[in-house]
Symmetry: none
Subunit: 216 residues, 4 copies
DNA sequence: TATGAATGAGAGTTCATTCAT
DNA sequence: TATGAATGAACTCTCATTCAT
């Protein structure tokens, strides 16, 4: 049996709100975002947002949660293969750069949340992995990293610095892109690199620097 | 002769507003920031903010400009020594990590501006270097980088990727810190690393990965 | 079918705002008018004014426009009958004095606009007649006046002075009323003439002076 | 002995404030006027206005009083000659049109006061003539008018209408000028009549219509 | 579900006025 | 006298949220 028309529309509305909210929050943050703009982008009445999500803050929280949730499955899957550090670096980089490049809202959202609500991060992270299992994700990485260090496969002994290097190069670098390009692209060459091109260059550069820089 | 009392106080007020504004904007962004909070933090009457800075937006712009201006002198100075890539990486990393670590507001401010007003970056960057000289900064780096590549001293042929790697690791990584720490620090070990310690570890790690990862 | 309740109420609110605004602006002008007072007089929430009229200035402009629009139809109608100068003077005077006397806000509004924004008058006047037709109103009067002059029916050769005499006596005189009355009414005779009485006396006096003074 | 420098400057300052205030109030009215603008126009510090005039409202009152005072001496003088109605009309018209034309601020000020504070008019008028003598001005005109009526020299039996006709044509008409000109001057003929020219045309027209229209 | 109207708590900003020097 | 800084009340306008239908 197919869904009734109303149900379809209903789902559609919620999704439209959600997507519009993601865009809005990823640019303006919680405080700066405007319900009015979200409702117009979603082509629905302002009141519907409260009907479906009860408050601006709640909508924001759900968007944040959803964004962070996009990142867990990738890690889990990669970890289950018991990868070598080379494989880990390669797969993680490819996977995450692609996600970030495909949805620029994601990294903006994450960065904003890290800047504006760092105190929420712990519970957000917990929420992300608690749904999958207690000893997954972070715990596994920690173990793997410790083993790699003990096996002398990698040079960075601190797992925090280790992961920070990966995350900075693969994810956060996208925030810095406009700045670096503004530095180097003169007015005449306004032929900015396409998203696709940039993504491939980025993957290559990150994998290269990470492998050569962190593997023993 | 010493400055008159009024002069001192006056400057003091402007400075207090400025510092309070930096803090406020670096957390909440332009839209989310509240003049009320800034005025309270600066211990002055709300109206004084408009007396000295005419509008919230103008105050924000001046704060952004000032933040970006903190970064130009360092680059310029380092470049004037015609450094080898090793020196460049070492000095730049040490210099900028220290700035960022000393004033967490700086990187938050920069990231917020990059996320929320990427279209302003070009003019901001221009403003920063135009006050010092036309062929300084970016142009010099580009030349140096090209020479290093031609002399086979470094492996990354694209200056954008080259600088993005440095900036991500040395600057943007600080945004990611709470996230990575949330991943790895369990509730029991709430003995977070001190700022000093973290800074030194970060410098070491970044210099290490950059040198090994990017030098030929 | 009658209008739905909402429609009626909605229109009612806009109208109430409009009337309250007319009163307020006609006394205090744009700068001196207070949204607070308008909202209280209209018995609505302050925010509704912005909901319907977006800004104080816009509300003011619409009120001005509406006031000036009250005057066009009368002229147009009178002109279409190809009147003699006697008829013109009589009908115009009766018509406009009655309008002004019935709504003292009108002439105050017009005078304020003429005093405070004389640079807007041209566009306002254009707006008034452009909705009706290009060669109506002023153009017709000019033609008529020229014919009357050539036929030696009136003595004032300049259409500007001709109309200024009519407008001053029939319209602007109402602004001067309190002054002249203050001059002549002593404290003991605070039995001020009623609006009705004054209006009739005014019509008589104006028609008399205009006919005798301007017809050849 | 000449005045000391300070005294001269002081008087100069008060005068500058006064002139600037007249201009400002005559355009914006009491509420709309800005102390800031007045102080800038007078090239003095804002606080000096309060030093000399204690409050905005007081300054306004003094400006109003001064404006109305400009008009009393003319009337008094003319009346002392026991004029015929012709003389009265001619002299009054010439005298007042010239005043108004030379200082457009005067009529704007008067009109604004009449529109915005009609309740003050009585006391203002009293103030104007009380300084000269109790039975002067209004009382004299009333007597003269009554005599002229009884001698069958003029047709308008009501002194209020009589004076209103004169005042409207000679004074208030200047407020209507921009409107009537906007009606008749097409875009092409932007050669507006000069102040001088207009004044002379106005005097001629007013005297003509008043004499023919009101004398028996 | 869906909508336009309504609300009230602030937000940024202005401004007359006062203060300190 | 003269000034720039400071103040607090008030103003326009915004916005999340709720109401009535």
């Amino acid at each position: 049996m197919t869904k009734s028309k109303t149900e379809i529309i209903e789902k559609d509305v919620q999704e439209r709100i959600f997507n519009a909210a993601l865009k809005e929050f990823s640019i303006y943050g919680l405080c700066g975002a405007r319900i009015e703009r979200i409702s117009k982008a979603a082509k629905i009445n302002k009141a519907m947002i409260f009907y479906y999500f009860s408050s601006k803050e709640n909508l924001y929280k759900m968007v944040v949660k959803s964004v962070f949730n996009q990142f867990a499955p990738g890690i889990i899957q990669h970890l289950s293969t018991d990868p070598s550090p080379e494989e880990f670096i390669e797969k993680m980089t490819r996977h995450y750069v692609r996600i970030i490049a495909s949805k620029p809202e994601f990294i903006r959202m994450i960065a904003l949340e890290l800047i504006q609500n760092p105190e929420n991060i712990t519970s957000t992270v917990k929420g992300v992995f608690s749904e999958i299992g207690n000893n997954t994700g972070p715990a596994q990485i920690k173990k793997l990293h410790a083993r790699w260090v003990s096996e002398n496969k990698i040079s960075e002994p601190d797992p925090v610095q280790f992961m920070l290097n990966i995350a900075s190069l693969a994810l956060l670098s996208f925030i810095g892109r406009p700045f670096i390009e503004a530095l180097f692209k003169s007015d005449t060459e306004n032929i900015t690199t396409s998203h696709e091109e940039f993504m491939e260059m980025r993957i290559k550069s990150v994998i290269n620097i990470l492998k050569r820089g962190m593997l023993s």
